[in-house]
Amino acid sequence: MRVAVLGLGAVGKGLLRTLAAKPELDLVLTAAADSSSACIDPDGLDPTAVLDAKCATGRCGASGLSATDVLASGAYDVLVELTPTNALTGEPALTHIRSAIERGKHVVTSNKGPIAVDHAGLTALADEAGVALRYEATVGGAIPVIHAIRDGLAGNRFSSITGVLNGTCNYILTRMDDEGLTYEQALAEARELGYAEADPTYDVRGIDAAIKLVILANTCWSLGVTLDDVSITGIDGLTVDALRLAADQDCTIRLIGEVAPAENLLRVAPRVLPRNHPLVIEGTLNAVMLSTDMAGEVTLMGKGAGSVETASAIIGDLIAIRDRYVECG
């Protein structure tokens, strides 16, 4: 199966390294583009050579080529869209994804923007074109939560989804709890370790978690909700005393995303949980608890970020598409 990759940041590089390391997956890279160049070869590119060029020059290919040329080349079965997230417009990924679907190509993305902005429109477009649109990597990193909702727990009725959806916040709260650090100290430490962005606003104000909650809500119930519908409280106002008071009751505080359509609940906020609750996880981990009618409560936990971890989710989507749609050569 031929794969075109748009975006060569940490996740794109992790994917190319995995493709190079696992030739047995039979996923052939035929095109790649970054923000200033592209390379296309319908017979297959060497992922290692593309990575080397990217590292040496900052460009993966010829500067006269771009993502648009990759899309128009048609030299791929699946487009993997990994450009940076724009939560407000979903661009440029939204245009890339629509363009690929309209050409009859399958799409896999780790980009939260387009899925959060127009889940219903993109899903309808893909259905009409008879192609797959998969986005496991948008929520919970390596955790196969979308697979669990769509496949593993198919036929269940879901009553709620709650989860720890942001590793940066979970790290900060874990450190405040374990070491009695102030919010500012824990944030500074997270930055030093590379767990927090230079501008951590999206993470600590709960916006990143809210975007993921929107994706889960629309995937599970087709609610058609957007970021504006989520009641959001971040962790930036929390005090050490709050964690101490929770600890006195054998509890702690975590940033929890919660959606329960019957109760009209769509909320991201710091919450008090008993220490032995399945969602009380340490460090940068993520966890999602699905409440269903048949399976009861199912909790998935794992690494919520990282280049190879995210590549794992992307590869899972690619193989699901290959098995369902594409005949193996």
């Binding site: 709650t162 409280t233 106002g237 929390l238 005090t239 005393d241 709050a242 101490r244 008071l245 929770a246 006195d248 009751q249 054998d250 509890c251 505080i253 929890i256 919660e258 906020a269 710091p270 919450r271 008090v272 949980l273 008993p274 609750h277 969602l279």
Partner: protein, 164 residues
């Protein structure tokens, strides 16, 4: 409440039916034959929650079924829930914050533990509310959320179903 009923088929159902009809929620039914009770009657203890204003009507309905109520133990304010509040709690009149919960009549602040790290820095408090029923606890928390929004306070609530 403790009931006494005839030891014959259908009696327990007759006693329990009115509870759901009046919107009560049965928490436990303890059914035991006491040695001192006459052999043709049965003592049953029922633990239930029901809105205060509907209790008298329920008692009447149970009596109409021919069941006698031996004892009616009432414990008001059955539910407790603790919430953490952060912000300028004292300077936004903590007396008023507490008063607004107490004024509901169905819930009250039972405990307040305030930490004040330094002047001008936000304080943190654990506030424990008691309420008669689960739904009234929900209404009390709504009041608290409204007050917090007015006063710019941050509230950290327990995750539903995961209360300590």
């Amino acid at each position: 409440m403790k009931l006494e009923m005839k030891d014959s088929p259908g009696q327990l159902v007759a006693a329990l039916t009115p509870i759901s009809e009046y919107g009560g929620n049965i928490i436990a039914v303890i059914h035991q034959r006491e040695p001192e009770s006459p052999s043709d009657t049965l003592g049953v203890q029922i633990v239930l929650e029901i809105a205060q204003e509907r209790l008298d009507a329920l008692v009447g309905a149970i009596k109409l079924q021919g069941v006698s109520i031996l004892r009616l133990g009432e414990e008001r304010l059955l539910y407790r829930q603790s919430v953490i509040m952060i912000g300028h709690l004292i300077h936004t009149d903590i007396g008023d914050t507490i008063g607004r919960i107490d004024a509901t009549g169905f819930a009250e602040v039972a405990e307040l533990n305030v930490h004040m790290p330094a002047i001008a820095e936000p304080s943190t408090a654990l506030i424990t509310i008691k309420a008669t029923t689960r739904s009234e606890m929900g209404r009390a928390l709504d009041v608290l959320r409204t007050v917090a929004a007015e006063k710019g306070l941050l509230i950290v609530e327990p995750l539903a179903g995961a209360e300590a």
